[in-house]
Amino acid sequence: MKTIAKSRLNELLKALDKEYNILVPFKEESVSKFVPWQEGVDPYFEENTLLPPKDILFPQTEKMYGFKVKDKSVEIEELTQEKGQQIIFGLRSCDAYSIDCLDKVFLTKGYEDGFYRQKRENTLLWALACTKPQDSCFCESIGIDPREAVCADVQIYDLGEEWGFTARSAAGEELLQKLEGLFTDKDAEPLPVQGFSITVDMEGVPEKLANMFDHPLWEEVSRKCLGCAACTYLCPTCHCFDIAGSVKGGQGYKFRCWDSCMFSEYTRMAGGHNPRPSKKERVRNRFLHKLYYFVERYGQLLCTGCGRCLAKCPVNMDITAIIRKIKEAQQQ
């Protein structure tokens, strides 16, 4: 393993900064999220970030194309932002798994999303192995290994006084070789992962949900939901988006922006018909999507076990409690 003393992290980041934009977790007051690194920015590795790194590849608001309308004529111009190479440094296994899910959504099945692909192919992931699960973490129950992130280019380990790095892809290998001089090669054992306070048995849940569309449990679990978007916006895998325009005097641009299936008008059609008219249908759709539809379509769960939703929901909607209810539910 390649190691570097924790006190020398700045040297590593400085070296990487020459060719890459580095995004590191950073905490300001009570909010932690990924920010561009520069000298003086002290990365925050104590806990997982509140805001997931999904907005690096899938920004909350993203311009797509500009247009000009004058009398009967229309001009359209695609807006691409050429971003340089970037590294997401210090994301956890749960968030790395979420990027794997987003890759499947935006890059597979018929079409490739140009905006996402342009960023993704210029992004390397340096994932950080966790040592202390937080109160709301349950990634292990989802089948995610907190110490080994999927689709990582480099895996980072906490060795106590040092950071350890192991390449997990060709690109990662190449980069570590380039920075050879900064590291000390040695055999090292990463710190173990401490226990999880939340565990949930996922066995058979997607299969069971296939027959639970009309189950009365949805009425019960949806009652306290407020219908805000806190869970969907904090969730690292939620990817629903809206497309809208910003116009001033015939000129403007079309953009896409995050949307949430929890909003009441999400599926409302012109003309008024709404296939999900009440909270019950929307809550049901959210959990079926996470735990069953995505499994059917892409072969994996759309939940990473990061726990942000249950930590921040104003009414403590708890996906693990709902999963337990699903497991206990009598077949109707």
Partner: protein, 270 residues
């Protein structure tokens, strides 16, 4: 297409008033060419960039243009109904799975439409007419609220009745002065005609579809042979934004055409 979410520039070369609230728009590229060649049943995202964008079925195509029949129901469609010929626009596509042409080949086909629902079905009807020898007998049962609301009147009363081995049955909901044709709701008319079970393509208002499916089941039609095309609120059109899902399928990508057999396996959320 570099990016499936970015449209190409189009031009509305002709606008035809079909009924008081339905107009058919003929769309070409700026250079006067066909924007793309869709299969029957496919869709296009049509936009007036300063107003909005929405998904419409492509009802017909010519060598140089596509035809979209659009009913005035909301913001974008109201704006569209105000524009004049020559207006430039945005268009992207084709989207969706289209009708199962191979499954329909060589068979007698029944088309059941209600109101504006005839628009997507018409793309298949015209395809069958253009490739007449590939298909068996064509039967069309179509109805609307009133004579004024009947769409594609030229096809219904002039073009289609002239086609070899094709029958067109038209009905309106309530009797009207000057109308000597049939008066009945479409589902009732279908039952009345007592047609033998065959491959059926249907589209219309949800309430009509519901009763048509009931009637067809009563008449012994097979779930696999009943084909419909659905409508949902759509934004991206390419199965990414998550909005138009029915279960794990996206109406814009895996649909909008589904057989009754497929629909019965999906959650009833549409």
């Amino acid at each position: 297409m570099t990016n499936p979410l970015v449209p190409i520039r189009g031009k509305i070369i002709k606008v035809v008033q079909e009924t008081p609230d339905v107009k058919t728009f003929h769309v070409s590229t700026i250079e006067g060419k066909k924007p793309f060649t869709p299969k029957p049943g496919q869709l296009a995202m049509f936009s007036l960039p300063a107003v909005g964008e929405a998904m419409f079925s492509i009802t017909s195509q010519g060598p140089d243009h596509l035809e979209l029949a659009i009913k005035e129901v909301g913001q974008l469609t109201s704006a569209l109904h105000e524009i004049e010929e020559g207006q430039e626009c945005g268009i992207r596509g084709p989207y969706g799975n289209g009708f199962p042409l191979d499954y329909c080949k060589g068979k007698d086909l029944l088309f059941i439409g209600g109101g504006i629902g005839l628009a997507p079905v018409r793309s298949l009807i015209n395809y069958c007419i253009e490739n007449r020898k590939d298909f068996g007998k064509l039967t069309v049962v179509y109805g609307a609220r009133s004579v004024a609301d009947l769409v594609f009147k030229e096809d219904l009363f002039e073009n289609w009745p002239k086609v070899d081995n094709m029958e067109v049955y038209t009905t309106i909901d309530r009797a009207e002065e000057g109308w000597n044709g049939h008066v009945a709701f479409v589902p009732a008319y279908v039952e009345e005609l007592g047609l033998k079970p065959m491959t059926t393509i249907t589209c219309g208002p949800p309430i009509m579809i519901k009763f048509v499916l009931q009637a067809l089941a009563k008449m012994g039609f097979n779930d696999k042979d009943v084909i419909t095309t659905l409508e949902m609120r759509m934004k991206c059109g390419v199965g990414k934004c998550g909005r138009c899902n029915i279960g794990s399928l996206y109406v814009c990508l895996d649909g909008p055409v589904f057989t009754l057999e497929q629909l019965k396996k999906l959650p009833p959320e549409y």
